[in-house]
Subunit: 391 residues, 2 copies
């Protein structure tokens, strides 16, 4: 339509989703390494069933306060109070999952033509939000310690202008599974300050650490610096279908966030806010997380072992200390081209180029180990290996 | 913050909400005519409780398809198939309430400086969404038959450019309660075509008609014209806290809507989509709506009678055939200034100027009759009368 002239290029479809929708059309028995969801057995439906009659009262179906239901806000402040992410109500705004946190950032801060730095590879559904506000994306290489800060400096130097924002998933990154080191977090904050540039600290997996030492969040290291816009969610630690998350920001932004969110969806759906509040105040989360961490560690090890068994030194892969993902590089393999063959073999993944605005990483792929039991993981990796052999 | 320069003026806070947040701080017994929510006794929590164990299974907490859960989409197509709004799946996209329908419209169509026509008075939370994309608003007067089309032509003529969109709430309008006549709907469509301008057909109350003849929706009258973008929601007919609605649009827009929504909130929360799907397929809605219509008719009559008893010919008010609202004009009264006095008397409403981007209607106010029982309505109007006497 002519009315859409010049805007459709901003509304980039999710390459991640395009792959998975092809997957959904398959009827046979697929090992699903594609979607970044928690294990189905990790969804606390039994607790929700118990909670429902008490928390899903008539008032739970009315409009919620735009900044979030007071019960959930209180429970969340309590949850965070024992962590380095301890915060205050004036910094906390409940959102429709982490994605709406990114959308709110875009609505408040991104103007057409603004430069937004992203990790390479990055979560392209997140960078698509920046694109939808007209951002120009700048991909900066990463390694096993996260975004390479010297490369960041060099890339911004070449761009000859300061970025408006730097978007990072610092912990158990999506898609790579790697974690930005403490030193790099500190250098990132320092650079952002020198550029007067915001950091979008999108950290949905940090509570799912199953190995190694905790590294303080960028939010906590920056100690209330208004340049840090922290995006958090219950999607990975409880369930994504809830669409309940939050942002932690400078208090001076809260009224603007409320205004912006009112013009997006009025408020976050209230029944699920109440379910989460009941879950948190019932004290269920701590044990739940411990079970998930043990489960995900076992699954990661199973996947790595299967990769070693089937690929040996013909592939390389990351070694995450938490989260959902392993990033596999298969030199010489076109992983986009391989996808149909892999599906025919009965295994699904996301091709690497889906995680790069510039369609890099054509020889890489993302595997989610979280939602598949170890025995099935071994079967899935065997199928992937057969696909590569036949591809 | 300097990074916000030039953007904060787009993020207009809800004047509606500012009034109600003052209200929420009141602890004593207030008659609440302010918020446009269904009656609490109209929330089908008993049915939801019965449905929950069967529909809130683990997969109901996973990500949903961005265009909406297939079960809900099917149930919705069935529901609409018996109405003039019968539609097809390729036209239907599930949203986080009607507000996200408006946000999607803005994301797809509004560029900074675009002219967007609104009714005067209008639902300013809706027009705030257009503002958040940089629209310039043009208020067009209304009367008891909706937007005055001759005034629309004159206003656009004075603006010397065609609008990008015309935003209307044609049925039991918020805030006035009035309904656009068939003739005006047809003339509106004709004008929009002549200007190549979109119509945002925001029609959340149409199923709550308790008197008079049904008037076909703008969507149905335009018969698939791609210029009509229809916004619908379960907020008023089932419950607002669900945040489940839909848009009905030209099929050519669906993939763009999916792309845009993925960059907003990934998908609409799935548990509530399943509750609504269970509610619809269980056949509960038809009886539910009949009960609500009878309830709301009784309440409207009670409110009009009380207004007549207390205000006689010192005020005038609208006579809605459905929906939630009566619009009262009190010549010579500053209804914003009266608000604190009214609260002190124990009654809450929304001052008229909250419904006008240009802060017109300083002597009017909106009363919601839907959520208050008749006896309390009489008490509330008596309190309003005392406030006017003392103000």
């Amino acid at each position: 339509m002519s009315l859409l002239a010049g805007r459709t290029n901003r509304l980039v479809g999710s390459v991640i989703d395009s792959s998975t929708s092809l997957l959904q059309k398959q009827s046979h028995d697929i090992v699903r390494f594609a979607i970044g969801s928690p294990a189905e057995e990790a969804i606390p439906t039994a607790v929700f069933d118990d909670l429902a009659p008490a928390v899903l009262t008539a008032d739970a179906f009315d409009y919620a306060a735009t900044e979030g239901d007071p019960w959930l806000r209180g429970a969340l402040l309590d949850l965070l109070s024992d962590t380095p992410d301890a915060t205050t109500g004036e910094r906390l705004t409940v959102t429709a999952g982490g994605m709406q946190g990114l959308d709110l950032f875009g609505k408040l801060f991104i103007d057409p033509g603004d430069l937004v730095v992203v990790e390479s590879p990055t979560y392209t559904n997140g960078s698509a939000t920046a694109l939808s506000y007209g951002a120009e994306l700048l991909e900066v290489p990463t390694d096993g310690d996260g975004m390479i800060i010297d490369e960041l400096k060099a890339a911004v130097g070449r761009a000859s202008r300061s970025p408006k924002a730097i978007y990072v998933i610092p912990t158990f990154q999506n898609p790579s599974g790697t974690t930005m080191s403490l030193d790099r977090r500190l250098r990132l904050i320092e650079l952002a300050r020198s550029w007067n540039c915001m950091i979008i600290d999108d950290d949905p997996y940090a509570m799912l650490r199953f190995d190694g030492e905790e590294i303080p969040s960028i939010r906590s290291l920056a100690d209330g610096d208004p340049l840090v816009f922290a995006v958090r969610t219950f999607s990975k630690i409880i369930a994504p279908g809830l669409r309940v998350g939050w942002v932690d920001t400078d208090p001076g932004l809260q009224q603007l966030l409320i205004n912006a969110k009112q013009a997006m969806d009025t408020c976050t759906n209230l029944p699920n806010q109440r379910l989460v509040a009941g879950y948190l105040t019932g004290g269920f989360l701590s044990d739940h997380l411990q079970i998930q961490r043990d489960r995900y560690r076992e699954r990661k090890i199973a996947m790595q072992q299967a990769l070693a068994d089937h690929f040996g030194d013909t592939a390389s892969w990351t070694d995450p200390d938490g989260g959902f993902f392993i990033w596999v590089t298969l030199p010489g393999v076109d992983t986009q081209g391989l996808f149909a063959t892999a599906l025919a073999e009965g295994v699904a993944y996301i091709p690497g180029q889906a995680f790069s605005p510039g369609h890099r990483f054509t020889d890489a792929l993302r595997l989610c180990f979280a939602s598949t039991a170890p025995e099935r993981i071994r079967e899935g990796v065997a199928r992937l290996s057969r696909a590569v052999d036949h591809g």
